[in-house]
C-alpha cells in the first residue's frame, strides 16, 4: 500500500532520517519503534507532506507522494494523529470532528462517520459541545484519533498515541487501534511503548538514529533479545 | 583570567582607535559637517537601539514606545541648557532626563509589563503617545512649536564617548547575573519563576535601563541638532529605532551597530534620490527582511575572547 524507499530528511544541517526504507501492506498494523530522536516522527511528518524529503521515494497506491502537498495527501486517504495530539483548542469537540471531515464531499455518509467515532469513543459524544482544550489528556488523544477517523482514511498514521496516558487508558487505546484496523483501516503505529505495540502489530521496524536496524513480524521482534534489551526494558 | 584582560584591552584599543581615526579624518578635512552629521546620527541611533535591543532582544519584551523616553531626555536638555549654557548644565540636564525617564519607565512598566507580546507593544506605544501629547500641550515645552536655539553642547566626540560608555554598560549588563536572568525570563517566564527569579523585578530592570539609555540618546540629540519638537518623537520615531534593532538582529549588539551604520549610510545616500528616496528605502527594508529574516547578524556577536579560545564557536 505504502512504500518508503531510501528516505532522507534533513532539518537544516541535521540529518534526522538517513536512507530509510520500509513498506506497509493493505490491512496491516505496522509499528515503528526506536529511541527518542530516532527520527520516527520525522518520517510520519514527511509521509503526511508537512516536511519535504531531501531524497528518496514515498509511493502510495502507485502514486508518488514526495512532492504532493499535505491536503492532497489527506485527500488520498492518509490521516495522521500527530504527536502531542494537536487538537484545535477553542473549538468544540464536534467542530474538531467536523474539521476532520474537511475534505469530505460525501455529506450523506457523514452522519455514519460521527456514529462510528462516537461508538469507539463514547466519552466524546458526552463532551461534544465542550471546548476541546479543556479535555483531559486521554480524552484529547481520543479526539485526535476521532478527528483522523472522520477523514475516512485508508491509512492511519499514529504518533505515540499512548504518550502521557494512564495505564488504564493505554490499554483502551490499543484495543481501539485494533478495532479500527479490524474495520478496514491500515495502521502505521509509532510507539515508545514497544511491548504493547509489537504485540498488536503484524510487522515492526526498529529505528535507531535515523536508520532501520531490525525488522520482522511483531512476534519475532518481541522475542528478539536485542530488542528486549534496548526497547523492552530487559525482562519485564 | 588572561583571556578576559586581553579581550578587554582589545576592545579599549578599538574604541580609542575609532576616536583617533575620526579625529584625524576630521582634521584632514575628509570628514566635513555632512559626514559628521551622519556619524553623529549613527552614534545616537546606536545608543537608542542598543537600549531597545536590551528590552526586545534580551528581555523579550516587545516595546514600541522608545521614542517617548527619548523625548524625555531631549526635552530635559532642551529646557535646561538654554538657561544653564555650560557643559555642566548639559550633563545636569542629561542626568535629570535620565531620572525622569526612569520614573516614567517605572510608572509605565509596573502595570504594563504583565502584558504579553503585541499587547505590551500597543500599551507601550500608547504610553509613549501620552508622553508626546503631554509635551505637545504643555507650556514649558513650548507646545507643538518645539524648542529651538538649544545651545550646541554636544560635539561628535561627546556622542562617541557616550556611545562607547552606553555600549559597555549594556554589554556588562547582559553578561552578568542580571542579563542571564532577563534572558531566562525571555525564554520561559514560568520556568524562570520556578527558579526563584522575581520576574517582574528583572523585566522592569531591563525596561528601565533601556529607557534610561533612550533618555541619554534624546539628550544628545537635542544638544547636537539644537531643535526638538513633539513630532520628532511620534510612533514613527519609535518604529525607526525598532527597525534598526530588527534589521541588525534581535539579540545582537554587534548587529545593532551594523544596522545603525548601514541604515545611516543608506539614508544619506538616498538623499540623492529625491522623491524616490522613501520608495527605495521601503523596498530595501522589505527585501532585507525577506532574505535575512533573522536580521543582518542574527544573534551573532563579535567577540575577542572567542579568538583566544581553542574550541569552535557553537553552531546552530
Amino acid at each position: 500500500m505504502l512504500t518508503v524507499k531510501d528516505l532522507v530528511v534533513n532539518y537544516g544541517a541535521i540529518q534526522a532520517v538517513k536512507k530509510v526504507s520500509f513498506d506497509i501492506h493493505t490491512g496491516e498494523i505496522v509499528t515503528l519503534i526506536g529511541a527518542n530522536g530516532a527520527g520516527k516522527s520525522t518520517i510520519l511528518k514527511t509521509i503526511s507532506g508537512i516536511l519535504r524529503p531531501t531524497s528518496g521515494q514515498i509511493t502510495y497506491q502507485q502514486q508518488s507522494l514526495q512532492k504532493v502537498a499535505a491536503p492532497k495527501i489527506v485527500h488520498a486517504g492518509i490521516s495522521q494523529v500527530p504527536e502531542g495530539r494537536h487538537i484545535f483548542p477553542g473549538l468544540s469537540v464536534q467542530e474538531n470532528l467536523q474539521l476532520g471531515a474537511f475534505l469530505r464531499r460525501d455529506r450523506a455518509n457523514l452522519a455514519q462517520s460521527y456514529q462510528d467515532v462516537y461508538n469507539y469513543f463514547p466519552v466524546l459524544k458526552q463532551r461534544r459541545h465542550q471546548d476541546a482544550a479543556t479535555l483531559s489528556g486521554g480524552e484529547q488523544q481520543m479526539l485526535a484519533m476521532g478527528r483522523a477517523l472522520m477523514a475516512k482514511p485508508k491509512l492511519m498514521l499514529l504518533d505515540e498515541p499512548s504518550m502521557g496516558l494512564a495505564p488504564i487508558f493505554i490499554q483502551e487505546i490499543f484495543t481501539i487501534i485494533q478495532a479500527i484496523n479490524a474495520a478496514g483501516t491500515t495502521v502505521l503505529l509509532i510507539e515508545q511503548n514497544a511491548k504493547q505495540a509489537l504485540s498488536i502489530a503484524n510487522r515492526g521496524y526498529v529505528l535507531a538514529s535515523g536508520h532501520i536496524k531490525l525488522s520482522g513480524t511483531g512476534a519475532e521482534l518481541l522475542a528478539n533479545p536485542a530488542v528486549q534489551e534496548a526497547y523492552l526494558g530487559g525482562k519485564l | 583570567m588572561r583571556t578576559r584582560l586581553k579581550a578587554n584591552l582589545v576592545w579599549a584599543g578599538l574604541m580609542i582607535f575609532g576616536f583617533i581615526l575620526i579625529d584625524g579624518l576630521e582634521f584632514a578635512g575628509i570628514i566635513n559637517t555632512f559626514i559628521e552629521n551622519m556619524l553623529v546620527t549613527i552614534g545616537i541611533n546606536v545608543i537608542l537601539a542598543i537600549g531597545l535591543n536590551l528590552i526586545i532582544g534580551f528581555s523579550g519584551q516587545f516595546s514600541l514606545g522608545h521614542a517617548g523616553f527619548m523625548a524625555i531626555g531631549a526635552y530635559a536638555t532642551g529646557i535646561i541648557t538654554p538657561t544653564i549654557t555650560t557643559i555642566g548644565g548639559f550633563y545636569l540636564s542629561m542626568f535629570i532626563g535620565v531620572i525622569i525617564a526612569i520614573i516614567a519607565a517605572l510608572i509605565v512598566g509596573i502595570p504594563t509589563l504583565r502584558l504579553r507580546g503585541d499587547y505590551l507593544a500597543i500599551a507601550t506605544m500608547g504610553a509613549a503617545e501620552i508622553i508626546r501629547l503631554l509635551i505637545n500641550n504643555l507650556k514649558i515645552t513650548n507646545g507643538a512649536a518645539g524648542i529651538f536655539n538649544i545651545p550646541a553642547l554636544a560635539s561628535w566626540a561627546t556622542v562617541y564617548v557616550i556611545m562607547c560608555i552606553t555600549t559597555i554598560m549594556t554589554v556588562n549588563f547582559i553578561h552578568s547575573r542580571s542579563g542571564r536572568a532577563i534572558m531566562a525570563i525571555r525564554e520561559d517566564e514560568i520556568a524562570a519563576e520556578a527558579m526563584g527569579l522575581n520576574t517582574t523585578r528583572w523585566k522592569l530592570a531591563a525596561f528601565v535601563f533601556g529607557a534610561a539609555t533612550a533618555a541619554v540618546g534624546g539628550s544628545l540629540h537635542a544638544a547636537y541638532i539644537q531643535t526638538i519638537a513633539p513630532s520628532d518623537f511620534n510612533i514613527m520615531a519609535s518604529i525607526a529605532i525598532l527597525i534598526i534593532v530588527v534589521l541588525g538582529g534581535v539579540g545582537s549588539i554587534t548587529g545593532t551597530f551594523v544596522a545603525a551604520i548601514v541604515l545611516g549610510a543608506l539614508d544619506t545616500i538616498l538623499q540623492n534620490f529625491g522623491t524616490l528616496r522613501m520608495i527605495i528605502y521601503s523596498l530595501a527594508l522589505i527585501l532585507i527582511m525577506i532574505f535575512k529574516p533573522a536580521g543582518l547578524l542574527g544573534t551573532w556577536e563579535l567577540s575577542f575572547k572567542r579568538f583566544n579560545r581553542q574550541e569552535v564557536a557553537d553552531h546552530e
Binding site: 486521554g138 495505564p167 515508545q192 | 534572558m183 514560568i190 519563576e193
Partner: protein, 260 residues
C-alpha cells in the same frame, strides 16, 4: 518517623466550575521519595502547581518547615516558594532553550550569588569574584550529572532524555529541600527510564532532599518510591506503599487497569 517538610491541608482548587482539586491533604517528610499517580486529568499537575505557587489555591493551607520554623507558603509567588526551598521540573520540558547548559544552571543559582547591580555594570573585582565562584559551583554540578561535554551547547540542541536530565540539574541548582518531578520519564524508552530511576535515587541520597514525582510509568514508580498518593477526580483515592497500592482494587479499577 522522620520530621515533616511540607504539609498541605484541605487544598481546594476550582477552575471556573471545574473542581480540579477538592479537599486534598498530603504531607511530605524529610528525605522521602514519594510518588503521585492517578488517571489523566486527576489533578496531579494541578496539585504540583498549587504547592509551588504557580496556581493560587482556592482554599487550604500549605506549610513548609524550614530551618527558621514553619512558613505558610500559599499565597506566595512561585519565586518566593522557590526561594524558600521548593523546586520543580515540568511535564512539558521548560528549559531556557536558546541558552547554554551552563547558563541554564547558573540562572538557577541567581539568588545565591549577589554580585550587585552597579558593580556588575562597572565590572568591579567583586563582580568577577562572585561570577567565578558561581561558575565553579555550576560546573561542579554539571560534572556530577555527566553534562560537562555539552556545557557550552544551547539546551535546545540536546537530545530529549538529556534535556530532562538538565531540567533536574537546573532544579537542584536552586538548592531545594523539596523537589517535584512531573512525569520525568514521559516519552522515554525503558532503557532511558532505567537510567532515570538510578539518577533519582542518587539525587535523593546525595543531596539529602525530598523528592516527589508524578509518573505514569509503573516500572519507574513502583521501584523507586517509598510511599504513594493516588488522585482521582481531584480527590485522594488512596495512600500507601507501592505494594499496597498495586493491590488496592479501587486503584486498579480507576488507574492501573486489568493486568498491570
Amino acid at each position: 518517623m522522620s520530621s515533616p517538610l511540607l504539609t498541605a491541608t484541605q487544598l481546594v482548587k476550582n477552575f471556573g466550575g471545574l473542581n480540579a482539586i477538592s479537599n486534598v491533604s498530603v504531607h511530605f517528610d524529610q528525605n522521602e521519595l514519594i510518588g503521585l499517580i492517578g488517571p489523566n486529568g486527576a489533578g496531579k499537575t494541578t496539585l504540583f502547581n498549587l504547592l509551588t505557587g504557580v496556581t493560587p489555591v482556592s482554599a487550604g493551607t500549605i506549610s513548609l518547615y524550614t530551618d527558621h520554623g514553619v512558613k505558610t507558603v500559599n499565597g506566595q509567588t512561585p519565586a518566593q516558594v522557590a526561594q524558600a526551598g521548593v523546586s520543580r521540573t515540568f511535564q512539558n520540558i521548560r528549559l531556557f532553550k536558546e541558552l547554554t547548559v551552563l547558563d541554564n544552571v547558573r540562572i538557577a543559582m541567581t539568588n545565591h550569588y549577589h554580585e550587585g547591580f552597579i558593580s556588575s555594570l562597572l565590572r568591579t573585582p567583586k563582580f568577577y569574584r562572585t561570577e567565578t565562584a558561581m561558575t565553579v559551583a555550576a560546573e561542579k554540578l554539571i560534572a556530577i550529572f555527566d553534562l560537562s561535554a555539552v556545557a557550552d551547547q544551547p539546551a535546545k540542541n540536546l537530545p530529549y532524555g538529556v534535556q530532562r536530565r538538565l531540567e533536574i540539574v537546573r532544579a537542584l541548582a536552586t538548592k531545594p529541600k523539596l523537589l517535584f518531578l512531573d512525569e520525568p520519564a514521559a516519552g522515554m524508552n525503558p532503557e532511558e527510564t532505567a537510567d532515570l530511576t538510578r539518577l533519582i535515587r542518587q539525587i535523593q541520597q546525595d543531596f539529602h532532599i525530598t523528592v516527589v514525582l508524578i509518573e505514569h510509568d509503573m516500572s519507574l514508580v513502583m521501584t523507586v518510591v517509598e510511599r504513594l498518593y493516588v488522585l482521582e477526580h481531584g480527590a485522594l483515592l488512596a495512600e500507601g506503599t507501592p505494594r499496597e497500592i498495586q493491590q488496592n482494587p479501587a486503584v486498579i479499577k480507576a488507574y492501573l487497569g486489568g493486568d498491570a
